[in-house]
Amino acid sequence: MRVDTVSEVSAHDHAAPPTSERYGEVFDRGYEQYEGMRLGRRHAVWALTRYSMKRAMGIKKGWTSKIVPFLIYAAAALTALIPVGIESFVGEEIIQYNEFFSTLYLLEGIFVATIAPELLCGDRRENVLSLYFSRAITRLDYLIAKIGAVALLTLTISFVPAFVLWLGRQLLAAAPLASMWDNLPDLGRLLLSGTLIAIYLGTGGLMISSFTGRKSIAVAIIIFGFFTLESLVGLLQFALPEGNVARYVSLLSPTTVIGGLVIGLFQPAEPWLDVPWWICALAMATVIAFACAIMYRRYVPSN
């Protein structure tokens, strides 16, 4: 066995890169053991969140990975800018915030069906999990990072367009700063709705994605599951007599829950299906907790 000493290794040409003939040789380019700062778990979780968001958006990947997310962003931007543009001419509001959320809902669903499988399926299918779990994080940290990534990304669709609409309206007002101050409660409601919708749809999408390593299957199940659930709830409501049971069965439908939340928040005098907004928020929180519990069982073994 040929053994090079450290001094021989150091004597290599510093500038010359390894050629195919010299693959595997160690060149002294100043490699030293790292003795600097180690920022701990919180930093690692945030690093994983950022990295996951970039990958889900197709950043630093081929152009085909970027098409769907950026088409959805373009559609969401138009959904916000078109009403602002029209209102600047007609001088009055042409869409209520709750109606605006209803128009965004389909885009949010497609967006989650696109990004949630990107966040989980690749790591599972390509076995990258074995590398992540050998780093300075726990399995729970991994899940927190992924939930954070899906929620932050979905928030860019569920809140940012609504914020653009709100901001546009204030800027069109005669006294923009005073108008902003007066309509601050609306902004709070938009943020609350957007955040709840982002976490609700995001965790649901992630939960489904946690069952398969194939992105295409996860996308199909999310879309098929959505339509099946909506149809089932519609059927039950049709079959059940009017009353509390039918009303609360409707809380299984994402469309109803999100609609109930935003209508209840922006028109508290006329709640949808007579269900107060906080019941809808509670239903969303229950689904979020259920999805997190399922993912916890999938990713954090008892031993």
């Binding site: 066995m1 890169p17 595997g24 600097g36 920022l39 690692a44 994983l48 990975s65 790591d123």
Partner: protein, 325 residues
């Protein structure tokens, strides 16, 4: 039981792991010194279970383990901050560049983003992927992927690196290059390595200490080339074909065996009748004008050690190296 020393990077005491009724590791008492250490055993011997326990990924049913002074159960995160791990399986994302992924892995070990990128570039250069670091991993050969796996295990400046079957799936040339690289990382960079393998040749070539497991039990933990393993023979290594020397020594009345040697050197084993045999061999080599590379007592080979501690019925040959199976 092996007594732990302050030089030990890994220590276990009574470490036990069961999966149902199956005992994966049974009361393992081990002290592993700083250096290049081979973890040898057949499939199912408990190597991967031991690595998982040492990384804090699995809880032992009994006993304790420390890595670099940190308890693997209480301080699993601290252990994983200071340990690099190269898994056996294919585990790289296909649609990202090597530089991006290795940098990300450095951040996952707590390094600040800028430092992570810088170290990723350095370590990819060290493993021979300088030019290729901005290419997508899906275009890499098996050998290049193994290098990326090694780079991510080194990027955060670990105190010890666990390599699980690092030559798996490589052709003979790739295997040779990988072993050379591992050897240089240990000798040139001073990083302790623990190589889990079932290929005897890999361990023998790179490691100075060996741990042999069989059915979850510790069979052997000792330095390779230990004087206790003296075979009573003299090993003669010369820089040419050894057949001529063997014939002449036999004519002189010595008990001589031709060994495999390597591509360059010839080797013979001589059973001496007295210490004068050393003088006789030296004179014979000089008379034949051969280059004498080595003349020393011959220790047991790893294969012989393995057979002695695990059993000869568990040995079989292989095209690319002897396997413990």
């Amino acid at each position: 039981m092996l007594a732990g020393t302050s030089d030990s990077i890994i220590e276990t005491a009574g470490l036990t792991k069961r999966y149902g009724r199956q005992i994966a590791l049974e009361s393992l008492d081990l002290a592993v010194p700083h250096g290049a250490v081979g973890l040898l055993g057949a499939n199912g011997a408990g190597k991967t279970t031991l690595l998982r326990l040492l990384l804090g990924l699995s809880r032992p049913d009994a006993g304790t383990a420390t890595v670099l002074g940190h308890d693997t159960r209480r301080d699993a995160i601290k252990v994983r901050e200071r340990v690099g791990f190269m898994p056996e399986s294919d585990c790289l994302p296909r649609d990202t560049t090597a530089a991006d992924f290795v940098g990300h892995m450095a951040e996952m070990s707590g390094l600040p983003a800028r430092m992570a990128r810088q170290r990723a570039a350095d370590v990819l250069y060290h493993v021979g992927l300088d030019e290729e670091r901005y290419r997508l991993i899906k275009g890499f050969s098996t050998g290049m992927k193994q290098r990326v796996k090694l780079a991510q295990a080194l990027v955060h400046g670990p105190g010890v690196v666990f390599l699980d079957e690092p030559t798996n799936g490589l052709d003979p040339r790739g295997r040779d290059e990988m072993l050379d690289l591992i050897d240089r990382i240990h000798r040139g960079l001073g990083i302790a390595i623990l190589i889990s393998s079932h290929i005897l040749d890999d361990i023998e070539r790179v490691c100075s200490f060996v741990v042999i497991l069989d059915h979850g039990r510790l069979m052997l933990a000792q330095p390779l080339g230990n004087s206790n393993d003296d075979t009573g023979e003299i090993l003669v290594r010369i820089s040419s074909d050894a057949a001529l020397l063997a014939a002449r020594l036999e004519q002189a009345g010595l008990d001589v065996r031709l060994l495999d040697g390597n591509d360059v050197d010839g080797e013979i084993a001589v059973r001496p009748e007295s210490d004068l045999a050393y003088d006789l061999i030296r004179d014979m080599v000089a008379e034949l004008d051969l280059g004498l590379r080595s003349l020393r007592p011959r220790s047991s080979s790893l294969e012989e050690l393995y057979i002695a501690h695990v059993g000869s019925d568990r040995e079989r040959g292989s095209g690319d190296g002897r396997h413990a199976s």
